[in-house]
């Protein structure tokens, strides 16, 4: 079966930098693909590129975003508008600011239905109430006339989800959907997203920096660093046997993944430096921070290799092993 969305060699260029380079991935119907990375890794720009909502200064000099038959990078504005909100929908990190403060939530949900399904105001309102019910907002008949400021953060994110799924999209892009939310609310929202994914047979691109979220909600994980894909794996493989030094470092640095590890037991493993050091780097972008870097790493960008089934890693020197000290702490 052909993938629902296939991204090939996507590069995003700004006048003075290329925050995303040669990125490829694909996602099938009904699947959750997690793109994980720290800030500056280019993951949010990737999401915007899928929607063709990049800022004006940004260009896509090469690469293809194939959605079904269409290449989104070549699609005209009108064609893209017909896809947005209907076939591809997106929810954002900030539920507080992502809703129009002077419009009732009902009208904001109805708007997308009016645009794509040409519903009457009355019918759209009925559907909006149904959608509010679908995203489990209590008393939807009353809430439909509320303004965003009358709702809590979790509720607003539910409204955003209602807008996104209103036209039963084939692909939902969730850009850090729970980063701004409390942990107990995060669990509710992620649960809701997952249920809707199954019910509506959507594919979900879940963009996050939270490894815990990745482990529990993704079918497939892409790890990005400084605009490049450095590793791709199934979640179990990734957490049990991370291959790229960056992934290993991240897992080792995360206190969440080291149970019963207390400061009296010793220091956390650090990744020295920061992502800034990747700027202007000619070879492997992770080289300045890598504890296994060799001279040859500076020569050229490492190719993605296939170390095992369903896996990709952009490091020629890595070996799948439990002997790497970082990984030891993980398997318990």
């Amino acid at each position: 079966m052909a993938a629902l969305l296939q991204v090939d060699n996507l590069t995003i260029r700004f006048p003075r930098a290329e925050p995303v380079r040669n990125l490829s991935f694909e996602i099938n119907q009904g699947e959750t693909l997690a793109i994980v990375g720290e800030s500056g890794s280019g993951k949010s720009l990737t999401a915007l590129a899928l929607m063709q909502l990049l800022p004006r200064a940004a260009q896509i000099p090469n690469g293809r975003i194939a959605f079904g038959e269409q290449d989104l990078t070549k699609l005209n504005a009108r064609g893209m508008r017909q896809l947005r909100g209907r076939d591809i929908a997106m929810i954002f990190q900030e539920p507080m600011t992502s809703l129009n403060p002077v419009m009732t939530i009902g009208r904001q949900i109805a708007e997308v239905l009016k645009v794509h399904e040409k519903l009457s105001s009355k019918a759209a309102r009925e559907r909006a109430i149904e959608l509010l019910k679908l995203v489990r907002i209590p008393a939807p008949e009353k809430r439909v006339d509320d303004y965003p400021h009358q709702l809590s953060g979790g509720m607003r994110q539910r409204v955003m989800i209602a807008i996104a799924v209103a036209c039963k999209p084939k692909l939902l892009i969730a850009d850090e959907p729970t980063t701004a939310l409390d942990v107990t609310i995060q669990a509710q929202v992620l649960d809701l997203l997952d249920t809707l994914r199954r019910e509506l047979q959507m594919a979900v691109v879940l963009i996050t920096h939270d490894l815990g979220v990745v482990a529990q909600w993704a079918d497939k994980v892409v790890v990005m660093y400084a605009g490049r894909k450095v590793e791709q794996a199934l979640p179990d493989d990734l957490f049990n046997d991370p291959l790229h030094p960056y992934t290993r470092g991240l897992l080792a640095a995360s206190p969440r993944l080291k149970h019963d590890f207390h400061y009296r037991d010793g220091a956390l493993t650090e990744i020295p430096g920061s992502i800034v050091s990747a700027v202007g780097e000619t070879g492997c972008p992770f080289r300045p921070r890598c504890n296994q870097a060799r001279a040859s790493c500076g020569h050229h960008v490492p190719q993605l290799i296939v170390p095992a089934a369903d896996r990709l890693v952009a490091c020629p020197f890595t070996t799948s092993s439990k002997a790497v000290p970082h990984a030891a702490a993980l398997s318990h």
Binding site: M155, T184, A215, A253, S254, P255, R256, L257, L268, V276
Partner: protein
């Protein structure tokens, strides 16, 4: 005598919605050399509590004793002495440094205000502290925007350490930082604690960070402490349903996914539910919980819980 002892502290604000009970009757003790973790979700009042302890916000009622002296009654002038001994590290490394001052100026001001050393001595102190937090010496002549988030947080730590404090209130010091930088800063905080014999009041919403970092943990909900225990006990034997829910809500690769442990939203702190504040979301709530406020009581030495049914949990 504990380093810091807070008794029945209340901080209420008048807001447009009425009285906002940000901190509503909290007892808290920080011993010398101890790290007390304060965990809670947004709006639970943990930041207000931290600021009240420093008298950056004036408490409505209660006592804050620092080394036995009640600092709630001190005027601004007498507070200065105490200010040297209690410091704060902020969450947002972008907002906590004055953008128009060089690092040198930022670090020199506290020394000038507290009349420590002459120019040359001050310069030496600053150079030492800058080296200690792991920044290059030429940093002093640069402006904050020339640094990354992690580096700025190091500067914030340097500023907090300058006056040789005994207690540092850390208000979400790593939650604005990327994972790979978090570990650097947490390690630095541990190092500094060892080197200077510091005590921390460590405020965070991130349970896993607190689990790594704290000696004792207090869980806060709607302006109150609902559970307090030493680190190991809390994690192995949580007795408040909220504590349990918090733990379960953290996604963890090591265990299979579960349904969201809690429904509903946090109530507004200006409209606190009757009885037990948690009863609106608690899976165990009964009529008793709706009517009666549970007492914050010890169920084991060093382990206190505010729940009518704490014995039935676990």
């Amino acid at each position: 005598m504990p380093l810091l002892s807070v008794t029945d502290l209340k901080t209420h604000y008048k807001s447009r919605d009425g009285l906002l009970r940000a901190v509503d009757g909290i007892d808290l003790v920080v011993e010398r050399g101890e790290t007390v973790g304060l965990v809670g979700e947004s709006g639970c009042g943990k930041s207000t509590l931290g600021k009240t302890v420093l008298r950056l916000v004036d408490p409505t009622a209660g006592r804050i004793e620092f080394k036995g002296e009640d600092i709630t009654v001190l005027d601004q002038r007498s507070l200065r002495g105490v200010r040297k001994s209690i410091q704060m590290i902020f969450q947002d490394p972008f907002a906590s440094l004055n953008p128009r001052q060089t690092i040198g100026e930022i670090l020199e001001a506290p020394l000038v205000v507290h009349k420590l050393g002459d120019r040359a001595e001050r310069r030496q102190i600053i150079a030492d502290i800058v080296a200690k937090v792991g920044l290059p010496p030429e940093s002093v002549s640069r402006y904050p925007h020339e640094f990354s988030g992690g580096q700025r947080q190091r500067i914030g730590i340097a500023r907090a350490l300058l006056l040789n404090p005994e207690l540092i209130v850390c208000d979400e010091p790593v939650s604005a930082l990327d994972l790979s930088i978090q570990a650097q800063i947490l390690n630095l905080l541990v190092e500094m604690k060892k080197e200077f014999g510091l005590s921390y009041l460590f405020i965070s919403h991130d349970l896993s960070v607190v689990r790594y970092f704290a000696d004792r943990v207090m869980v806060m909900y709607l302006g109150r402490i609902v559970e307090s225990a030493d680190n190991a006990t809390l994690w192995s034997d949580p007795r408040h349903p909220y504590t349990r829910a918090l733990m379960e809500a953290v996604p963890d690769p090591a265990r299979p996914r579960q349904a969201a442990p809690l429904g509903g939203d946090l109530p507004s702190p200006s409209d606190v539910p009757s009885g037990c504040g948690f009863h609106t979301r608690c899976p165990l709530a009964t009529d008793q919980c709706r009517a009666e406020e549970p007492e914050f009581r010890a169920i084991a030495p060093g382990h206190q819980v505010a729940c009518h049914f704490s014995d039935h949990i676990n």
